[in-house]
């Protein structure tokens, strides 16, 4: 059974918390770069954590269209769905 999007979103938000200041509220529309200040290097490291958390491969090329938390959750959901 495909992993539920909302489950992915909540696990992703948990990881993103470690990359941002404690007072930031993370919602699907949160902008990774402008609001969470996740720069290119942090994003690369975040991807490796996501790969391990969800046991998937996330090509760096796929990040070009990722702007928000929702975009990233959607990408993970898509990769997991294809894999299954």
């Amino acid at each position: 059974m495909a992993t539920d999007y909302s489950d992915i979103l909540s696990r992703l938000c948990f990881h993103l918390k470690q990359f941002s200041s404690p007072d930031v509220v993370i919602v699907p529309e949160t902008d990774l770069i402008n609001e969470l200040a996740i720069d290119s290097v942090k994003l690369l490291n975040l991807v490796m954590e996501i790969e391990d958390e969800f046991d998937i491969s996330v090509p760096l090329n796929a990040l070009a269209d990722v702007q928000t938390v929702h975009d990233l959750a959607n990408l993970i959901h898509h990769i997991k769905s294809v894999k299954q």
Binding site: K42, L44, M48, I56, L60
Partner: protein, 395 residues
């Protein structure tokens, strides 16, 4: 934001971080006295960041060969080899690199950056995967982007992490190019080659090893990590540069795969870059002979490297994980690194400053590159200056 506004933002970021009136990332060098000394402004400085590992930039054999080549063949080739042909020097150097590594064939490139760009984008393409170490050089990242292949990173020098990522790829591991480096340019540590080769064999992948910083430094004849570990047969493609131990500019790839030669017809960085100048090729050929016979140079290089590494370690500086000619001082903030870099320069020592995002893990680096041409007294002097600066840096 407009295209030019983006550049203004870069200028503002630089201004906020870097001191006024000091061109940190483009230091004007007025005169070069030797492999290790030059003049900046009116001050004599010691080069300690040039990657001139064997100190060959002023070797008489290399100077003479370059002069003769200019007189014989002119200052440049004015075009690519596909368009303007392959000079006898290009072909000879390719044979000499292949002989040096006892490999089937070799290709020479105009820069080391181009070698990685050409090889990675020539070997991998859309639908393939390139699996790279997280601390890879920019030329490797850019080669991956140019290839159109999927790019996956593994944690730096972590073979279990690499294996996990290959496993996830399933059958696609067979169309995966793994890229590692003999010595990593940021922290100066070596790749765990035996484990990498063993894993790549188990998953039927292809391995490219960049020996840019390890050529001339590791192995009995200076081949690099492949010779140091005796694993040359486990590596599919070896790339490297002329701009470090060979003291010129250019790049190479050698391989036992006969398919290497086909890269000349499909690899855009190779096809569309002007070929190396006759003087560059000639000095590199002379330097390769010196490198191959450079046992004494390597002994001196390692003696200097161990001397400085041990001194900085004893002083309490946080260093890269293993001694070698690349000695990275890891600082917690760009300000701290800048203070150390400026303090060294004020004492006549010129090193590399590496700030985020170029430095790993958001840290900043002050990187020393040791040469065989340095003297033990110069290493002592550098150690004394680091000792003197320590308190003001960490107060």
């Amino acid at each position: 934001m407009s295209l030019l506004d983006k550049l203004d933002a870069v200028a503002a970021a630089r201004k906020a971080l870097l001191p006024e009136g000091l061109d940190v990332f483009g230091m004007p060098i007025e005169e070069v006295y030797s492999a290790t000394e030059a003049r900046v402004g009116d001050r004599r400085i010691l080069f300690l960041g040039t990657n001139n590992y064997l100190g060959l930039t002023f070797a008489p054999e290399c100077l003479r060969a370059a002069h003769e080549a200019i007189d014989r063949e002119g200052t440049g080739t004015t075009g690519s080899r596909m368009a303007n042909g392959s000079y006898s020097g290009h072909r000879a150097l390719e044979r000499e690199f292949a002989d040096f590594y006892q490999c089937h064939s070799g290709i020479v490139f105009t820069t080391g950056y181009q070698a990685n760009l050409a090889m990675i984008s020539g070997l991998a393409g859309a639908g393939d995967v390139v699996l790279i170490d997280g601390d890879s050089h920019a030329s490797i990242y850019d080669g991956c982007r140019l290839s159109g292949a999927e790019i996956i990173r593994f944690r730096h020098n972590d073979v279990a992490d690499m294996e996990k990522r290959l496993r996830r790829l399933g059958e696609r591991s067979q169309s995966t190019l793994i890229v590692a480096e003999g010595i990593y340019s940021m922290l100066g540590d070596q790749a765990p080659l035996a484990e990498i080769v063993s894993i790549k064999n188990a998953y039927s992948s292809i391995l490219l090893l960049d020996e840019a910083h390890s050529l001339g430094v590791l192995g009995k004849t200076g081949q690099g990590l492949v010779e140091e570990t005796g694993l040359i047969d486990g590596v599919d493609f070896i790339t490297g540069t002329f701009s470090k131990s060979l003291g010129s500019i250019g790049g190479y790839c050698v391989s036992n795969h006969p398919q290497l030669d086909q890269l000349r017809y499909i690899s855009r960085p190779y096809i569309f870059t002007a070929s190396p100048s006759p003087a560059t090729i000639a000095s590199t050929r002379a330097a390769l002979k010196l490198l191959r016979d450079g046992t004494e140079l390597r002994r001196q290089l390692w003696q200097n490297s161990r001397q400085l590494y041990a001194r900085l370690d004893a002083l309490g500086y946080q260093l890269g994980p293993q001694p070698g000619p690349v000695i990275a001082n890891i600082l917690d903030s760009p300000q701290q690194a800048l203070m150390l870099w400026k303090g060294l320069l004020d004492h006549g020592i010129y090193v590399n400053l590496i700030l985020p995002p170029a430095a790993p893990e958001g840290k900043a680096l002050v990187r020393c590159s040791v040469s065989a041409a340095h003297t033990s007294e110069q290493m002592d002097y550098v150690g004394n200056v680091f000792a003197q600066l320590r308190e003001s840096i960490f107060q």
